[in-house]
């Protein structure tokens, strides 16, 4: 076998890779923020005594968690198109990823809710806090604090999964790689470099979440318990 690797030609294209990586981060950021909001609302719905609300949230979570992201992306892409709505590939990708990660976040935050001792809520009621105040101060924040590690790994996995949106030609990192390898015929080198780029991105995200955790949960820092 005559191995003749040439990383230099691929590395010359670094501006395209950088654009792709930035788009990947943008997609992940939008989906993370929106997904966290959906997750919090979904988890509240999951715990509500309202049967229909509860049921809808349950169906949403189970449907998303038991079907592949690829199929979800196609459904959103063609579903919006068949409704006559024209969106850019980026918008569709962001919507599909948000719907996807929202379901996983709902499950994680719900698990966090379940870990809040009943006595805490009773104490808050005894202090005459309103329902909204109880949810915000006593249930949501402590719950998120508890499941923060699980949430962050979910968001890192989301960033990796965003590579699938290359299939509807969102111009993120994997799509850039597909283009470059078809242009240079250097598939092996291209995908090795892209794999390294993804590993770097996930390390950057983990570091970012760690810092964010320090800022969001000062109690943890004071107590010295690891996040």
């Amino acid at each position: 076998m005559n191995l003749n690797l040439d990383f230099a030609t691929i590395l010359e294209r670094w501006p395209s890779f950088l654009d792709g990586a930035l788009l990947t981060l943008q997609l992940s950021f939008i989906a993370t923020v929106m997904g966290a909001v959906i997750g919090a609302l979904g988890a509240i719905a999951r715990r509500s005594s309202h049967p229909i609300l509860n049921r809808i949230a349950g169906i949403y979570v189970e449907t998303i968690r038991n079907t592949p992201l690829l199929v979800q992306i196609f459904l959103v892409y063609f579903g919006l198109a068949s409704l006559g709505l024209k969106f850019s590939a980026f918008t569709v990708a962001a919507v599909a990823l948000t719907i996807n990660v929202g379901a996983y976040t709902t499950e994680i935050i719900r698990a966090g809710f379940d870990s809040i001792p009943r006595g805490q809520i009773e104490a808050a009621e005894g202090l005459a806090l309103s329902r909204a105040q109880i949810y915000w101060h006593v249930v949501l924040w402590p719950a998120v604090e508890k499941v923060y590690p699980a949430l962050t790994s979910q968001f890192v996995l989301l960033m990796l999964a965003s590579s699938v949106t290359s299939q509807i030609s969102a111009e993120e990192l994997t799509a850039v790689a597909n283009y470059i390898q078809s242009d240079t015929y250097r598939a092996f080198e291209t995908y090795i470099l892209v794999a390294i780029a993804y590993v770097a991105l996930s390390l950057i995200m983990r570091a970012g979440f760690w810092l964010l955790g320090l800022a969001l949960f000062p109690r943890r820092r004071r107590l010295g318990t690891a996040l």
Binding site: M1, N4, P68, L69, V71, Y104, A150, Q154, S163, A177
Partner: protein, 222 residues
């Protein structure tokens, strides 16, 4: 464009679904064997072995499966190793699954209570005996719910084999869509079939979790 969906299309989808199941089994068995070795490497007495296996897991878990697929299917032929779609999909999934199962199972092995290890050592069992006769039988019980849960991820991830042209469920849907152009209907059917495959396994995993009272050590997604 090309008429409505008929029995032949459904037969084609059924065939695709069969390949999805087949590919999932290949990934589970291949990834299971490799993952088991990795789990053992992660807790090996030799430091170098531990570091290398930890690096492998970090590397694979930091790379999207899609990129691993492309690397095997397009990358290997480019350096002179021809590979079929089935072989590429199987190899990529095996590598991917091994990293996740390796880490899940390491957690399971390590969660066997410490006194069990010490008692086995006190009985003068060798390392191999200790593992095979004391630790692993208990670890298997702990590992069953998360492993069943991870099977759902495997089934969903086989959909990515469609990008290298392997005709499983998602790809057969794309092919039918190319002739009928009813994307929403067809992908809804595909989603329903995936749901029918995955949901019973999800339920089973949750039941097993409740019965054993162990929590999944890691949350994984596809």
């Amino acid at each position: 464009m090309g008429g409505s969906i008929n029995v032949n299309h459904l037969m084609f989808l059924a065939q695709g679904a069969l390949w999805t199941v087949g590919l999932s089994l290949i990934a589970l068995i291949g990834g299971g064997i490799a993952g088991f070795i990795i789990a053992l490497c992660r807790i090996a007495p030799n430091r170098a072995v531990r570091v290398v296996s930890a690096g492998y897991i970090q590397l694979i878990q930091g790379t999207p499966l899609l990129v691993i697929m492309f690397l095997t299917y397009f990358g290997l032929p480019a350096i002179g190793i021809p590979i079929s779609p089935l072989a590429a999909a199987s190899a990529s999934l095996t590598v991917y699954v091994s990293a996740y199962l390796g880490e899940i199972w390491r957690g399971c092995i390590e969660s066997v209570p410490r006194p069990q290890w010490e008692a086995a050592e006190g009985l003068a069992l060798s390392r191999t005996q200790r593992m095979s006769k004391v630790i692993l039988p208990q670890a298997v019980r702990i590992a069953t719910p998360p492993t069943v849960g991870f099977m759902v991820q495997i089934i969903k991830n086989t959909s990515l084999a469609s990008v290298v042209g392997f005709v499983e469920l998602a790809r057969s849907g794309q092919i039918i869509n190319n002739s009928l152009f009813e994307p929403f209907l067809i992908y809804a059917i595909i989603a329903a079939v995936y749901f029918a495959l995955c949901y019973p396994i999800s339920r089973l995993s949750r039941r097993l979790e409740q019965r054993t009272g162990f929590v999944r050590p890691q949350l994984v997604e596809a």
